[in-house]
């Protein structure tokens, strides 16, 4: 399998905006001159269900899906969904995750329980895992809707892509009237 291809797996809950985050990420990688592929599913699985998005980049990318156990960065928008895909991480891979719990229907109904201490379990396999309070920083940036941009900022610290390319990606994908708070959110995420 291609050693020069890097793999990022985004994991979250339908409705969290993971698709837009993966768009900004892919756009940035294209601006950085990489071949990029991205894959995800829409439709039935989006209604509050578990969602993932595969982003792969390098000199030449074939498969849009990441081979098992080869995720370089697991980029999570919710704790349980990140934990669900933790075993796809390659040894030595990085984790950037939003410190947020969204209860699945079965947990909300009280028939199943939300796993205990997910941050600890993630750190057990990835000591350097970055666990970010996305909502807190988004509120500091001036809008709670900038959570995903905060997370992209935190992700950017784990990837060797120049900062100006990230900013160019954001400028291209974020509507002008929301740009200022998103740029602030990105910086707060980078510093987190």
């Amino acid at each position: 399998m291609s050693p020069d291809v890097k793999n990022i797996l985004l994991a979250g809950v339908g409705g969290q905006g993971t698709l837009l985050a993966s768009e900004i990420l892919s756009e940035t990688l294209m601006l950085a001159g990489f071949d990029v592929k991205k894959s995800e599913v829409h439709g039935m699985s989006q209604r509050g269900g578990s969602v993932t998005s595969h982003v792969r980049y390098g000199k030449k990318v074939y498969s849009p899906l990441i081979p098992d156990g080869q995720v370089d960065v697991l980029f999570g928008f919710e704790l349980l969904e990140t934990y669900r895909y933790l075993s796809t991480l390659r040894p030595g891979g990085a984790v950037v995750v939003n410190d947020l719990k969204i209860m699945p229907a079965t947990v909300a109904m009280g028939t199943e329980s939300y796993p205990e201490d997910i941050p600890g379990k993630i750190r057990a396999v990835c000591a350097e895992a970055k666990i970010v309070d996305g909502l807190d920083l988004a509120l500091k940036a001036g809008n709670f809707r900038t959570v995903n941009t905060v997370l992209l900022g935190a992700l950017s610290q784990r990837m060797e892509i120049a900062e100006d390319l990230w900013l160019a990606g954001l400028r291209k994908m974020v509507p002008e009237r929301f740009l200022k708070e998103n740029l602030a959110a990105f910086q707060l995420g980078r510093q987190a």
Partner: protein, 589 residues
Amino acid sequence: MSQAILSGNEAFARGAFEAGVRVASAYPGTPSTEILENIAQYQEIDSSWAPNEKVSLEVAIGASFGGARAMVAMKHVGLNVAADPFMTLSYIGVRGGLVVVVCDDPEMHSSQNEQDSRHYARLGKAPMLEPADSAEALAFTRLAFELSEQFDTPVLLRSNTRISHGKSIVTLGERVTGLPDPKIERNPGKFVMLPGNARKRHPLVEQRLLDLKTWGCDQEINRIEEGEGEIGVITAGIAYQYAKEVLPKAHILKLGMVYPLPEQLIRDFAARCKTLYVIEELDPFIEEQVKALGIEVKGKEIFPLCGEFSPSRVAAALGLPQSQGVAVPSEPLPNRPPNMCPGCSHRGVFFALKRLGAFVTGDIGCYTLGALPPLSAMDTCVCMGAGISNATGVAKALGEAERSKVVGIMGDSTFLHSGITSLMDMAYSKTPATAIILDNRITAMTGRQDNPGSGHTLAGLEAVPVNLEAICRAVGIRHVQAVDPYDLARTQQVIDEEMRRPEPSVVIARRSCMLDRHGRGVRSTPLFVKADVCTACKACVKIGCPAIEWRVGEEGGKGRAYVNQALCVGCGLCRQVCKFDAFGVGHES
């Protein structure tokens, strides 16, 4: 020439624009929906949502009769609906080029089956192209129109979830110019498929296939990629990407045209390889044809027939070593199935049906989620339009004692798609079942597209919304009642009344989708649970609203319901099922 990162669906749309398409039509269906949504941005193309796939294809055939290039897009099961015009279109051929994009859904991410639509190419005796990424989606769309006019044939373009919803880099081109202007041209021998004319067309269709087989042998879309060693792979579409990923050194015959197959090219390629694999998702479509040429290949005896491929699945089938991820102690995790949104207008109807003990024959849409717990109030689901006709059949089968329990249910868009004839049959056969139309004014599941009942068009223009009550009455239903599904007591009472009625009847549950693009979904003040009033009976939890959480009590306490106010839209359904008046509006003071 600029570069862009496009989804396969955006690339099909761009390809249609560049190919000079003038007319495009579709019914939404995952994973094909975004093709028409993206085509709609090009002013040069008349694009519209049709009530169903059959109509969309017939519109495109008409455009082709008029001399325009036309495209339709549909999901795999949509082609079943459009199969009737498609089969005869193959005999007629085209005037303006005509391309049918069909998007399969291996793994059934959002579908009721994972049929392999390549069989339609063989059944209809029409060529099928299959791109492997967005760049090919664009290029093959352009090529498909040239092929269509050159060989006087409709052309199928096959996609799947990973192509349609995967993004990759493409180079954009210009729209072709110099295509002939559409005008009336009569050609009854070709356009009027009376038996006498059709008999003359059939031999032309057979010859066309032979010509295409030969044509395909020296085309760039069917290419050999030289490798090293003795392993050869014949593959196409998304499977090509997985083959390249796991067998980077193999010789590859990448087929861009998956029907008809370039036989001589396959024979030449096979002669050079000691071990030959056919790597294809779903059915052994290429494999069986290659074997019929007398060539020995390995295919479905090692590769799965069910589900979608991935690099790891292909590697495992080939017995190649697998990379291992980090070791995570195994622990059962709560699943996260999809759910109806907070404030969904379908929720109250299913809650009422459950209370009434109805046997519910369902249909395709967001409301199919009504089959899942805790509502668990849908008993069958087959295909678009089956909800009402299945109810007729179940009621015919049952004795009088159980007949009144039968309720057929479907959404407004599904009713307009193929439910009207089902209802007509229920009325005509005087079957005493009840039909419910969940009228949320939109085609919700695929992303809230407009439909003939929504009052708007794909192009953003206002339209006269179809009058559902009038249709029901016109097909012979005497009892049609509309209810607001936010009023649970009234909804349940009306459904109960109609179920008891010994003749066919319709209940229309009308309330806009909360995610309606025209802003008709009404949000009210969120609710809260009065901590001291909640008796922990869990009745509210049983409506399955994502905004209601159950919080376990501390130290063996009884626990209580809690409203997530960020999600609550104030529909008030929970308040109506609470016997203790534990819900308040606004914030707990």
